[in-house]
Amino acid sequence: MPPYSKSRFIKFCGIFTSQNISMGILHVTIGGLLAGLHLSIKGGKYRFLMSECSVIYGTCLMEEHYFLLLSGFWSGLYFFLKTSIFHIKYLKFPIISSSKFFRFKAGISSLLPSLMAQCIWPTLYYLIGYYFLGPYCCSTILFLTSAQLESEPLSNIPSLLNLSLIFQLWLYQLIFILAIDSMYLMFEIYLTEWVPFEFKQSSIFSTDESGVTLTEVLSIDKVPIMQHLGYLDLVTIAQKDNARRSVLFTLSQPGGHPYNWNCIVEKCTSLIKKFSDDLNACIKPQEPKLSLCAPSSTITDISVFQKQYIYRMRNLIKEEIPICTEQSDMKKDVDSELHIQKFIKTKWSNFLTYLLSKPLIAYIFGEIEGGKVCHILYNGQTVIWAADAISSLAVLSLTEDSYGIAQKDLSLIINTLLTLKQILDKLQRTNLTTKKQNEDDKFIKQIFHSLRAAAKRSLYRIVTNFEIYIGDLQLETTTIEQLHSFLAYRE
């Protein structure tokens, strides 16, 4: 999960971190080593870089060996740039838990054909590059090692079109990328495995801290994978694990507070709330007028106004929405110093906007459109699990919560989920996630669709089970009105 970078320039600067540089060096070395080792083990004609000349006296350079060795370095560099720099890595959690071997097999069998096709490109690039740059490199080597070339140099078209050489070249690219990708695959398989966490049982008898508790894991923002695993475990508890759920619904101490429950509700709702707030902040500048007056606040007025009409048609005439009186009071500074400061600031910002209006500068330094939304959506999986878990727990509290500890939080849960759903609907309408058909974009779209489905599912879950008690939940009237499309199953 990379940090958010506002413009392409900052993104570009972000490449040059020590981690990336060391990774790059490692990639290049491994690529070269792999090719070199393979060449020396395979034996045959291209076994050594230097060999005794057969015709003239002295050492000769085997240019094929040198060609393939260099291609190893090239594959390292190429795939490093491709996988680490221009591609955001994310961990995909499996749909259902399956065995590691099965996942590895499935992963490899889906990777292999695509990699085989992918490897054609670096092969071609290398051949073209060698055709132009080969002679220079070759002469440098010859000069350094004081060796000679026996045969004709490789850098002409007929000798470069040697099929066995091209195949070997392609094979080295494939072996390298396969090794790297299967390593990532193994990481993914091991990291995304379901891990059960414990609950904190603060009774007098068990004082020893044996492991990380669930509530602790949920609050680890710094290590996203831990947070992901925490929410995965929470949703598992909510939907499948009867025994651990009962711990959740009990009081931490006899007669005390339901510490675990409170913690989990607080974590889940705050996560969802933060997520929807962030998204809302991104959408807002796009349509300032509409979002200023949320439709929810004016539903009652309009409905009263419109009840006389029979037509169920969308009203094309602009509504007379009561004007929102949210205008912030302008604080008028009288101090002249502040005045000057302000003047300079506005001038500076004007200058910046002028600069950014130029296409090339805007492209490099301007904010990437939709970039912020994508960045927030990367974290969507945890929100999906949080929504699912908290709604399932709320529903199960009907039968399993003997102390009634879940009751007080129901309205909070419903409101949070409703806000999330409304923000996602708004995002759907503004259509920020469009264009480009690359891999990352596909992932974002998947997450977005899953999020919408999850938000609706969670609300439906609560509504269908609490249908008869909706009146007793002490919800605000606006909330109940918003829930009505769910009660009528129209969403």
Partner: protein, 526 residues
Amino acid sequence: MMKIFSLHEFDTPSDDNLATVALIEDVLHYCNYENLTDELQPFSKYLREYPEVVITSDILATRETSHAFCAGDLFLPVHDSIFKKLASICRERGLVEAICVAASSEPREVTPVLHWIATRLKWILDLVDRGIYQRETLPTFGSGSIADIAHTRDWETSLIRCISWHPHCARLAIATRDDRIRIFSHEIPIISILKHSAQKSVCCISWRPLAGKQLAVACHAGVLIWTIELGAASNFLSHAVLLKQRNHTPVTSVVWHPQGDLLVSCSPTDTRMLIWDTSKKESVPLRRVGGDGLCFACWSPCGSRLFSATCRNIFRVWNTGVATLWHADKWTVPIGRVAVACFGPNLTLLFATDEDSGKIFFLPLQENIFDVKKLSLDDVKMAVPLIDLTKVYFLDDDYVTVGGRVTALKWDPTGRYLAILFQDSPYIALVKTKLGTLSRVIDIKPGCLIKGFSGEVPNCIDFYQKCQKELGNLVCLTIAWSSGRIQHFPIIEKETVPAMNTSTSLISHSLSLRHDTYNFDLTAIY
């Protein structure tokens, strides 16, 4: 040990020109065709909540009318060279897809050499995909065909192919022979009609639980997930996503997890069962050795067990209620394959094979640690015969058979009534069941035989999924007859007192009014 229930215990339904319309307090009510819509009939007050459905053979689209709206007419066809097409497929959908297209095209078009390579590559890919088990095509009729697998009587010729109730509200989806799906809702007067170029030979439809308007359709090309715009003026506002996988056609069964997040699809040509995450459009295959392709699957109402039936005598029960790997218990039936199965409450599984006069078995799946009866039974876990399906003959005007091969088996969500649809009997058998606490059927009594008007045979059945407590524990069985008539058959255990009834109906009426106004408000705003 319980005695096996026999079909002899049913009473003969009387008189030929009347159809059965309701079972109220164990009294079977009859009605003639003219009075079906009469509001004064004793059953009609129970049917006000349900949409009225009329389907006749002349509203179905013929080939000409369905062609008239084809998208191909709106756009000019583009003739690309095959290599250009292959290159674009390779770029958009990957190399594997391109190989498949190349292998399936004419050898002349793609040069014989390339075609030869492509077919060999495809063969290797198929081998990797489904192992040694190869079954290219299904028989078009007889045992193992789609018509045999589908839970519809006379699937090939019947007007109505599938019906499905929404799990939460009075919304009915009906798939007809012209490969269109019509959505009937109680509160929405407009009928949505769903059509899609890939929607051919619909075998199974299923509403997504915990969602308002999503419908999964099992058809020849794969699984279609519809998102339906209810009450929209145009049917084009509904849109569908096609989920398909190589070697996974035709799909004969789709079933949602009761929590609405996962979807399972089965195909008789494929030994794998695909678990879909529909919003990600990704699937995970689940495969076990043994048995052929999969005919159908069904999920228990609690979501912790998944039943899957193969085309041979093996069936499996997957334990899906665990966070770790799902794992399957394998069962075998002596003859034939499992034709129908359904789950009741408390993890009770009922199933019957496709023998001509078999038995319906029940299989308690709940783990009981305090099961005192276990000692008296021979086996720890075993399937117990429940209903003997040997054909019996009733003397009406002429002999009427009941029994034989079962086509569909439905249990109402509360587990009190079991409806059995036979392959060749004009009657539907309704059996009253009583479930014990340990997921065992402890009592079974005859309910009634449901018959239509003369000449009508039932095609498919479904129970309304929501139990209505306020209407005297109303259970409603919906039957699609071969004439295109859709009948809602109410079953009432104990009729409510008339005085109470008027008041509740008043309240419900005012409620529905309130609903109307709310809906109206929302539509006005959006």
